[in-house]
């Protein structure tokens, strides 16, 4: 919560502009279990350091609980757990990326935030269709920057696709 523990993307920041176009093709990239991921910068409102999370009962495992963001109570999702990756203890590099979808703020816990990258549409390939895991449903595409590949996430699906998963699990069992 202290000012220096977070990077705010506000008017003062070059990266942020009211103009939609300047946000186009810009992705906030972060690392998760050794891979690079990216999410559309338009959804991101701020990035804060990890802080004490209050657990909420009866929630899926990946919802770690709620935090206090300047007087607002927002839920926090651990993206590792969302993708059924092995959990990892939070450290000083762990960040909470606050995204805002339709006025709902949700915090995403990621291993570490890397940079804001420019990935033009031409460099984005559609996600592999066969996909081994169910997680591929959250993917928007694969972004290429030179030799590197960033996995671009569909934030909307990431947050709201759990009903489908529950149904799938139920049928598998």
């Amino acid at each position: 919560m202290t000012e220096n523990s977070k990077i705010r993307l506000d008017e003062d920041d070059d990266l942020y502009d009211d103009d939609e176009d300047t946000q186009k093709d810009k992705y906030l990239t972060f690392r998760l279990a050794g891979e690079d991921y990216g999410i559309d910068i338009a959804f991101v409102t701020e990035i804060i350091g990890i802080q004490k999370i209050t657990e909420v009962p009866d929630m899926p495992e990946f919802i770690r609980g709620v935090i206090n963001l300047r007087g607002k109570v927002i839920p926090v999702m651990d993206v590792r757990l969302r993708f059924k990756l092995a959990p990892r203890d939070y450290d000083e590099r762990t960040c909470i990326v606050v995204v805002d979808i339709e006025d709902n703020a949700v915090g995403l816990v990621v291993d570490e935030v890397s940079e804001v990258a420019d990935i033009p549409e031409s460099q984005v390939e559609s996600p592999p269709q066969s996909g081994r895991g169910k997680s591929s449903r959250y993917l928007k595409g694969m972004g290429k920057i030179d030799e590197e590949v960033k996995i671009l996430l569909n934030v909307d699906k990431l947050l709201y696709e759990e009903e489908m998963e529950a149904i799938l699990e139920a049928t598998n069992n």
Partner: protein, 784 residues
């Protein structure tokens, strides 16, 4: 009729609707009071009180009529007018008060309510013509001499009320014949209302005048000004402030001239009126002080205004003209003919000619000129302090208020974060001055919070008054005579709370009337007072509002309740295991009704379920106490506000929770002997005579606690709405604190249902802390 509605018009209509609704709420109880007077000896003079009541009702109908007439809602005008006529006859004693009249007046209230609903949607009242005609017919039938008990002398033939729905037939100024008692009618409340309204009007007028002086062709402003002055004049006339009325009338005349195009002096008129605003204000100020708003130099002002009128419209005002010639004549300095001569020859200022002609001496002219100066600048000679009339209330959008309260809630949290900041604890310094400042701030924040809360508070009297009507109607329907006693009407309650308890109150009172109270004859037979009593009381108790409904009827029959419960399959076994309290709670089950037959008042078993749900939504509680044959007492206990509760901070392991203080009965450390474990592993603890199930909080939320051993931690006895208590096992009680309730965020609610938690709050250290929901914990225990 209004052809097209502009925003301003709409606003006026909406204002009218709100006001009229308030008026009706006010007038209804008064009408019902009359009911008691109907039995009075017809030959006796009306008592002073009755006349007062009648006057009060008359006034309200009259104001309503005025408003409706102004907006062209003719059907409303007509119905209120007929009601007014009836009232007028009643109070002059032309006809005697009967309960039929009371009914008629109630009907006209109902009609007006309907009409208002209609107007709210359609902005006119054309659709109400039929109903209005019907109502007028009812009134006419009653008021016509053959039908009513006319008092000995057939003094004045009742005025013919025409059935035709035309306004023309409606006497537009019934005040005329009422003049004599108008003065009595002006009570401080009306005065206050008038002053507030006038203040508003003048402000509007001022801004419109400014517009007008900039743009003389602004016909919209002229229209509005005209209307405003017209209402203002009307009000003044009604209340008997004749000076203000005259001035207002003159202003109206000027504006009328502008409106019709007879005068092109828009700018000058606007400027003059702007200056006169101060005169109006001073006069109002005078009224505030309790005087009658006399305007000094009224004649002069009138004259100046008159002079601005086109010549053909000018009104002859005796002995006051600001024209220099007239003044000179009046002062006896010149003869009128000389002035006429001079006027004819006028090239230079009239005064100079007269001097030249030797008709007047130079100093006399000087004197006259000074008088003229004074006359022409009337406003500069009103040095009385420029204080505007003090407003008593403003209407505020409730959203704004809610935002304010949320903000203050955040401030409470922020303040906690500052004062208990962990950084401070690392400092090795004595923080004396800081702590002092901190305490000071806490105090102010607390006060601010309380203040903000009171803004949302409204007295419960409005709601209670509606119950008077309800009891009246029900008593008519069921033929039971009932006395309704109200107490504590001035108790203030959060507005949302009032909205939420309105329905429950209706249901509870219906139940009391229908099931609770016995018919009058039966009451007499069993030795109870013939007329049943229902009393409705509101009071404050430790941050809660208590509303009790007491009747002296049959009371609830435990046997009947249990029998019904068994029949419905809600109660298992023979029901003897239920405590009285639990048995009473049965009536809150949906579909539960012990009434043998469904009447049109109640008996379907929906009511109490509604009561329970509504109370739950405002975190209230309901207690029933009943003695068979003696009556029933129902107590609603509601937190004063919904945004903040008194909470108890508890801890188990590393987790903190808030428990609403309202649901905590007691807490204790149990001895080993008091604890029993049933074969299926349920722990029970003996509290005095009761055996209560133990719920381990750490077990519910998978927390590692400090203590597993029940005798080491603390047991808290909780009481939810089911009435069966449970014991919650926690590690530690950390103390009581004001808790600002926050939702758990939409995303969480979307993802799944959180059991046992009703919301969350933010603690002083910035941590989010869950608020436990005692009811749902209890339910989950009951299910197991």
């Amino acid at each position: 009729m209004i052809e097209k509605i502009d925003a301003g018009q709409l606003e006026i209509i909406m204002e009218f609707i709100t006001e009229a609704r308030e008026l009706i709420d006010e007038v209804e109880p008064d009408i019902l009071i009359l009911e008691d007077k109907t039995g009075d000896d017809p030959d006796q003079e009306l008592s002073r009180e009755t006349v007062d009541d009648l006057n009060a009702i008359f006034r309200l109908f009259h104001s309503m009529k005025g408003g409706a007439g102004f907006l062209g809602f003719n059907n409303v005008v007509e119905s209120t007018h007929t009601a007014e006529n009836l009232l007028d006859k009643l109070r002059t004693g032309t006809i005697n008060l009967t309960s039929n009249h009371v009914d008629l007046l109630c009907k006209s209230c109902d009609f007006t309510k309907e009409a208002l609903d209609y107007i709210e949607e359609n902005y006119n009242d054309e659709g109400m013509a039929e109903a209005s005609r019907e109502l007028v017919r009812l009134f006419t039938e009653d008021v016509s001499p053959g039908n009513s008990a006319t008092k000995g002398q057939k003094s004045s033939q009742p005025k013919e009320i025409n059935e035709e729905p035309s306004v023309a037939k409606v006497d537009p100024s019934p005040e005329i014949n009422l003049d004599m008692d108008m003065a009595d009618l002006v009570n401080p409340e009306i005065r206050q209302k008038f002053l507030e309204e006038s203040d508003d009007l003048l402000q509007e007028v001022e801004s419109d005048l400014l517009k007008l002086s900039e743009n003389q062709q602004d016909s919209e402003s002229i229209e509005k000004l005209f209307r405003n002055f017209h209402s203002f004049k009307g009000n003044c006339g009604f209340l008997g402030f004749s000076d203000l009325e005259k001035l207002g009338h003159m202003a109206e005349t000027l504006l009328d001239a502008l409106k019709t195009g007879a005068s092109k002096e828009g700018e000058r008129i606007a400027d003059l009126l702007l200056e006169l605003i101060d005169v109006f204000k001073n006069s109002l100020e005078d009224i505030v002080k309790g005087n009658n708003g006399k305007i000094e130099g009224l004649e002069l002002y009138l004259e100046v205004m008159n002079n601005l009128l086109p010549r053909n419209l000018q009104i002859e005002i005796k002995g006051s003209s600001s024209r220099i010639g007239d003044i000179l004549v009046r002062q006896g300095a010149v003869k009128e003919e000389d002035v006429q001569d001079a006027l004819e020859a006028q090239q230079k200022p009239l005064g100079e000619i007269l001097v030249e002609k030797g008709k007047v001496s130079a100093d006399k002219l000087d004197k006259a000129l000074k008088v003229q100066e004074k006359l022409r600048e009337p406003t500069q000679k009103s040095p009385i302090e420029r204080r505007s009339v003090k407003r008593q209330d403003i209407r505020v959008d409730i959203d704004k208020l809610d935002n304010l309260i949320t903000l203050i809630g955040e401030m409470v949290i922020a303040e906690n974060m500052v004062i208990h900041n962990p950084d401070l604890q690392h400092l090795d310094v004595e923080l004396e001055s800081f702590n002092k400042a901190g305490q000071h701030m806490s105090k102010i924040v607390r006060e601010l919070q309380e203040m903000a809360m009171t803004i949302r508070m409204v007295p419960i009297s409005g709601l209670f008054r509606r119950m008077i009507r309800l009891v009246h109607d029900l008593s008519r329907k069921s033929g039971k005579k009932v006395e309704l006693k109200l107490d504590g009407e001035n108790t203030e309650v959060d507005k949302t709370v009032i909205e939420k308890i309105s329905d429950p109150l209706v249901h509870l009172i219906r139940n009391s009337m229908d099931h609770g109270l016995e018919p009058n004859e039966q009451r007499k037979d069993i030795g109870k007072p013939e007329i049943g009593t229902i009393s409705l009381t509101a009071s404050h108790e430790e941050g809660d509002v208590l509303i009790t409904i007491v009747d002296d009827g049959r009371g609830l029959d435990r046997k009947k309740l249990i029998a019904k419960g068994i029949e419905k399959g809600i109660v298992k076994g023979d029901g003897s295991q239920l405590s009285d309290k639990e048995a009473m709670q049965l009536i809150f089950q949906p579909g539960f009704s012990t009434a043998e037959k469904v009447t049109d008042i109640s008996g379907r078993g929906v009511g109490m379920d509604v009561v329970r749900q509504n109370l739950e939504s405002i975190k209230g509680r309901i207690d029933i106490h009943s003695e068979p044959g003696q009556g029933t007492t129902i107590t609603l206990r509601i937190p004063l506000t919904l945004a903040i509760i008194d909470g108890m901070l508890i801890r188990t392991g590393h987790a903190h929770y808030i428990l609403p203080i309202l649901s905590i009965r007691e807490s204790f450390q149990p001895s080993m002997e008091a604890i029993t474990v049933t074969p299926d592993g349920q722990e029970m603890v003996k509290v005095r005579e009761d055996l209560l199930p133990v719920v381990r909080l750490h077990g519910m939320h998978n927390i590692v606690p400090d203590y597993e051993d029940l005798s080491k931690g603390i047991l808290i006895v909780l009481e939810g709405r089911i009435g069966s208590n449970i014991c919650l096992f926690v590690d530690e009680l950390m103390g009581q604190q004001q808790t600002v309730i926050k939702g758990l965020s939409e995303y969480i609610n979307h993802t799944g249902e959180v059991s046992g938690v009703s919301g969350c709050t933010i603690l002083g250290n910035g941590e989010v802390c869950l608020i436990l929901d005692v009811n749902s914990i209890e339910e989950s225990v009951a299910k197991e």
